[in-house]
């Protein structure tokens, strides 16, 4: 899957360039070992499979979708194809009140979900990891300043913050990513910081310091690889958060009107009285898709926790 490969390489380049250095022939194997994917937990494997299907759907959305998701469609008898039930006139999952194909919208919705989920998770994991690393490693006033920033971030109610931000900025799917990057790094940063606090007293870090390694080198070479799985863990939680947040924001009407997302579909259905019309085929599928993708993230996360913190494994 090119998208995943691209993201993973950029993670490795940003946090641990050494791992990605060209002179190592087995970098991919090494990288996957560093990530320690949870392949022994059946739920985690199910989660990974859901992710793969989700990513494939997003990539091949154009070929899978039967119609243009924004096009207003007509029945063979030239009537507006509005509020058709699933299967009627060949519309797999029925149509919306404006005559758009539900199935195609659902398929295309995976694109914005993937885009927002992956970029937001990447930003949250990256910013949180860097802040946690710097605060934990340098300590003293650097730590104090950064952790007070985290306190502030914890004091900001997230969803209201996204709403205000989305209302003041141009409607765009990136508002959610921006808001998450501004606020949600806090959890990652705190956890990584406390991990770094224990790591930096380890013998090999001390040895590297005595041997004259620079701070920069110690962080990248000796500490960052050890917290990479934790960053990945928090990143995979953030994917779910991003998708849920985007759905909420779109539902409340602050989303990007030009992009089809699952939240947009739900807002459209809600505003078009789909509940009173009993149009379950319209508003149930987007919710199920969100649940599948977000809970897949949770299952992978749980598999991870069992590997990272075997004490919790029960």
């Amino acid at each position: 899957m090119p998208e995943v490969a691209a993201v993973k390489t950029s993670v490795s380049e940003a946090v641990v360039p050494e791992v990605a250095a060209p002179r190592r022939p087995n970098i991919i194997a090494r990288f996957f070992r560093t990530l320690r994917l949870p392949v022994n937990d059946p739920f985690a494997v199910a989660g990974l499979v859901i992710y793969l299907i989700f990513i494939a759907t997003a990539i091949f959305a154009d070929s899978i979708a039967t119609h243009d998701p924004t096009e207003i469609l007509y029945t063979p008898s030239y009537d507006l194809a509005a509020d058709l039930r699933p299967g009627q006139d060949g519309f797999l999952m029925g149509t919306t009140s404006l005559g758009r194909d539900v199935f195609s919208q659902l398929i295309h919705g995976s694109r914005s979900a993937l885009l927002i989920g992956v970029t937001a998770a990447f930003m949250v994991a990256l910013i949180g990891s860097i802040i946690g690393l710097v605060a934990g490693y340098f300590g003293r006033w650097v730590d104090a300043v950064l952790m007070r920033l985290a306190d502030i971030a914890f004091g900001i109610p997230f969803l209201p913050f996204v709403i205000v931000l989305a209302a003041f900025l141009k409607p765009s799917i990136w508002n959610v990513v921006l808001a998450m990057a501004l606020v949600l790094w806090r959890d990652t940063a705190r956890v990584i910081r406390s991990q770094v606090l224990t790591l930096r007293t380890r013998g090999y870090v001390e040895a590297a310091r005595v041997a004259g390694s620079s701070d920069f080198r110690i962080i990248l070479r000796h500490i960052a690889p050890n917290i990479l799985p934790l960053s990945f863990l928090y990143g995979s939680i953030a994917i779910g958060w991003a998708i849920l947040t985007e759905a909420s924001i779109s539902f409340l009407g602050f989303g990007d009107p030009d992009s089809i997302s699952w939240g947009y579909m739900l807002q459209d259905a809600f505003a078009s009285q789909a509940l009173a019309k009993q149009a379950y085929y319209w508003f149930v599928p987007p919710g199920v898709c969100i649940i599948l993708v977000v809970s897949a993230g949770f299952f992978i996360t749980r598999g991870y926790e069992n590997i990272l913190f075997p004490k919790l494994n029960r």
Partner: protein, 325 residues
Amino acid sequence: MSNFKAVGSRLLQLAFVLWAVVTILFLMFRLMPGNPMAAYIDPTFTLEQQQQLMAQFGLDKPLWQQYLIYLGNLLQGELGQSFRYRAPVGERIFELLPNTLILTFSSLIVAYAFGILAGAYLAWRRGSWVEQAAIPMVLTTRAMPEFWLGMVLLAIFSFSLGWFPAGGTRNPGAEYSGLLDLYTSRDFLAHLALPAATLAIYSQGLPLLLMRSNMLDVMKEDFVTMARIKGLSNWTVVVRHAARNALLPVMTSFAIAVGYQLQGNVVVESVFSWPGLGRELVNAVAASDYPLAQGAFLMIALVVIFMNLLADLLYAFLDPRISHA
């Protein structure tokens, strides 16, 4: 004595966070597109009103002076005039706050009662098929968009079966002599049922998972083994000895949950047209009623910040082993 010092420094931190959030709010609403005066003055206000607000918030002065005036006004609880309601923002917010609090607390109490019992049960039945099936189900409820769950419940129980009303807090035309009268009426409770159920289904996962993992920790402790050696029944060991101790951290998480719930309320209140703070925030932002949006945001932030503090203090108070460092 060190406890006093610790609480003192935590309060100092609280004051700092409050100041920072208030400042961010100020900047956010000043950096929005358009006329900076739009944050307080609606073009349809009378000239007299406009001038009064100009003076009250110092809108003709440089930004830093506006900021000081803004802080001063906040300290006196002055939030400006709502554009849509033509009334002080503070008044409107305190009108809506009870609705939000009732929704939040009723759903959280149900969620915690269920979560604690189910969590303790799952810890007790650890490794059984019940547990194997229940945990993924609980995780799935955490993965639901809350508003979607609300939509599904609405479609089934309101539009399909007609058991519950579709939105609001009371039937149109219903009159009540007072708030207490309203809140205890059948009418109000019927309106409350679906939104509260939505939030409760979403929230029960946190206490459930917490309770379960705490129970598993506690069951390994010496005093539980001791109770078993004494020959006490399984029930006595689990309920009287283990559950009581596992309960403490779950209760402190209640405070944090109130803060989180208040944010989640924003969408659920919108689905059920529940006249609370969250829905008001959404409507105010959508209608460019900036003073009201600012006030609602501030109120939600206040509750979140105080609940975080409460959780910290409760945690240290209930479990003296936690140091304040």
